[in-house]
Symmetry: C2
Subunit: 346 residues, 2 copies
């Protein structure tokens, strides 16, 4: 039986419980606060006897004292926190794997990755909120961070500010992920297969414009200067009804190919086209993107653009290098690999 979590009247706030401080530990252990700090931070510069160290640790344990990350980072000169804004839309399997790998690689370098979920903050406001946590590095996927935001972060102590997205931002290191290349590969492939009237799926789900618009532009790039070829935009929601409706008017569109944004939309649309009796690839070629396992399971097998994100390991090493040498001039690296994997659907 699933219960609803009950709503209850919210009483007025009581006094917050007392949080144990290093002063409490010092009092219980009978030592100075400085000694507590030396012991709990494993400072080797100061000689402290083993019995005293034990007493301090026992007192901290008894009181449930944990150092304050911020206070500790102030002492250490910088924190080990790498802040990354959480993406605003539910993530796909590709990004999810990339993030797990990055988190792991940074963890091995003794950084803590914190994904910050901002809602409704714009531009510099957002950068200011991130800066309040005093991260040593900030990795910003997508767009939205401007040069002023970068400056705010740096002045708050961030040594590395790295953007992952379509364009460079002044003052930050840039890992350029040009989604246009994804569309270009698809467009070039379809042209080579003799296709001339190419539909391009634009997901109706919020937040995907950031990827779908440059992919569309990439297809246009591929067709540039070809008077005999043209692109048709196809809005599509990730729902069966939406695909069925599009398939029902397919023949009136006069298309001979479709680049379906990614493999999931391709699968959705291909099924609807098949149910409508549209021959694939004879009547219409279908190309997806992401190279998911599921595309190989379809019949016909789905042609796709394989996308290579930067490895988490490489990105972690870039962060480490820039944190250690914060004066490094901003670097720009093209990191999005895109290559076509032709299968049976095109």
């Amino acid at each position: 039986m699933v219960q609803q979590i009950p709503k209850q009247p919210v009483p007025t706030s009581p006094a917050p419980p007392a949080v144990p401080t290093s002063a409490d530990v010092a009092r219980l252990a009978g030592v100075s606060r400085a000694t507590v700090s030396y012991v709990l931070n494993n400072t080797s510069a100061v000689r402290i006897s083993e019995p005293t160290r034990r007493r301090v640790r026992a007192a901290a344990e008894e009181l449930g004292y944990v150092p304050h990350a911020a206070a500790r980072s102030l002492r250490a000169g910088h924190s080990r926190m790498v802040l990354m804004p959480a993406p605003p839309v539910p993530v796909g399997p590709l990004y999810s794997r990339f993030f797990s790998e990055l988190q792991w690689a940074l963890g091995r370098l003794d950084y803590t990755v914190v994904q910050y979920g901002g809602v409704g903050l714009k531009g510099d406001e957002e950068a200011r909120a991130w800066a309040e946590l005093r991260p040593v590095a900030v990795l910003v996927p997508g767009t939205g961070l401007g040069p002023r935001g970068v400056a705010v972060l740096k002045r708050a102590g961030a040594r590395a500010v790295v953007t992952l997205g379509p364009e460079r931002v002044e003052g930050a290191h840039a890992l350029l992920m040009d989604q246009r290349g994804v569309g270009r590969r698809a467009g070039e492939h379809l042209l080579a297969r003799g296709r001339r009237r190419i539909g391009v799926v634009l997901p109706e789900e919020a937040g995907l414009d950031l990827f779908s618009r440059p992919r569309l532009q990439g297809v246009r790039d591929a067709l540039h200067g070809r008077a005999d070829a043209e692109v048709t935009e196809l809005p599509l929601a990730y729902r069966e009804e939406s695909a069925t409706a599009l398939a029902a008017r397919w023949r009136s569109l006069g298309l001979d190919a479709v680049f379906a944004y990614n493999d999931e939309y391709a699968m959705l649309l291909m099924r609807a086209l098949q149910d409508e009796g549209v021959g694939i690839p004879d009547e219409t070629s279908v190309v997806g993107a992401d190279d998911l396992v599921l595309g190989r399971l379809l019949r016909p097998r789905l042609s796709t653009v394989h996308i290579e994100l930067p490895s988490g390991q490489e990105l972690a090493e870039l962060v480490e290098r820039v944190v250690r040498e914060p004066g490094t001039a901003p670097e720009t690296h093209e990191v999005l690999g895109a290559r076509l994997v032709p299968r049976e659907s095109s």
Copy 2:
């Protein structure tokens, strides 16, 4: 062209750049530090003239000063940070959507959600690392947090500690997500369809045991007391080769049904079985879980267990209520809904 991010020798660390403090702002604006604090925190309790407020804001702007989150939370009595450990494995679409929704709902209540990526820390160590950030609430998916960890978090000021997982932890609020119910629904359905020799897929990918083991147990529960029915464990990696190998020896296993862990594994295995000539559902029934759109696109359409996670809105309201009244006795709510959606594959 994709470049490798170059590795370069790491020089020794230079002195960290000076981070502007509220004292710097006070000096530039010609006011006291207290005044800076009142102005930048929009305190209305103290009367400060509009020209002074403007001067302080201009000075903060010029210096690029942002308040320190930790210092601010100490003043406010508690932070607005909700900490959530990042899941150790790449997340599926269901969790990704749940997390986006939760983040949004907590954002509307003026909380900031921070996903903490811990690597290699165990038990209390992990809780201690979270406690260092002084979150006002901690939401812990999965297992691993023990009663001592809960106590550490509470003593560091966390007012709400909520676990989302298979069991209650002393001192914490529990949203029970019993994966057994998912397996039980599948088992009951297959029994009702006259199936008696039921295979259960166990993904070989790391980290999924947490879900697959209780789902297996749920199938066993459904078959309990039925001498004529039995369960066979089927390890399977999410790769075509693995599915092909399993399909090749399918007939020697003598199974008449399979609960394939989730829809993605079900799709992988069903394709391999079809390629092997195994009739579905006549020879073998297939049931997945998650009710993804893609399951409805298969032929035969995939039977599945629809899983309902708690809504982000409900969970956000629970957090708000407990933060305001931290003395609330730990509550336990069953939140995982599971119902079978029969289609053509079973």
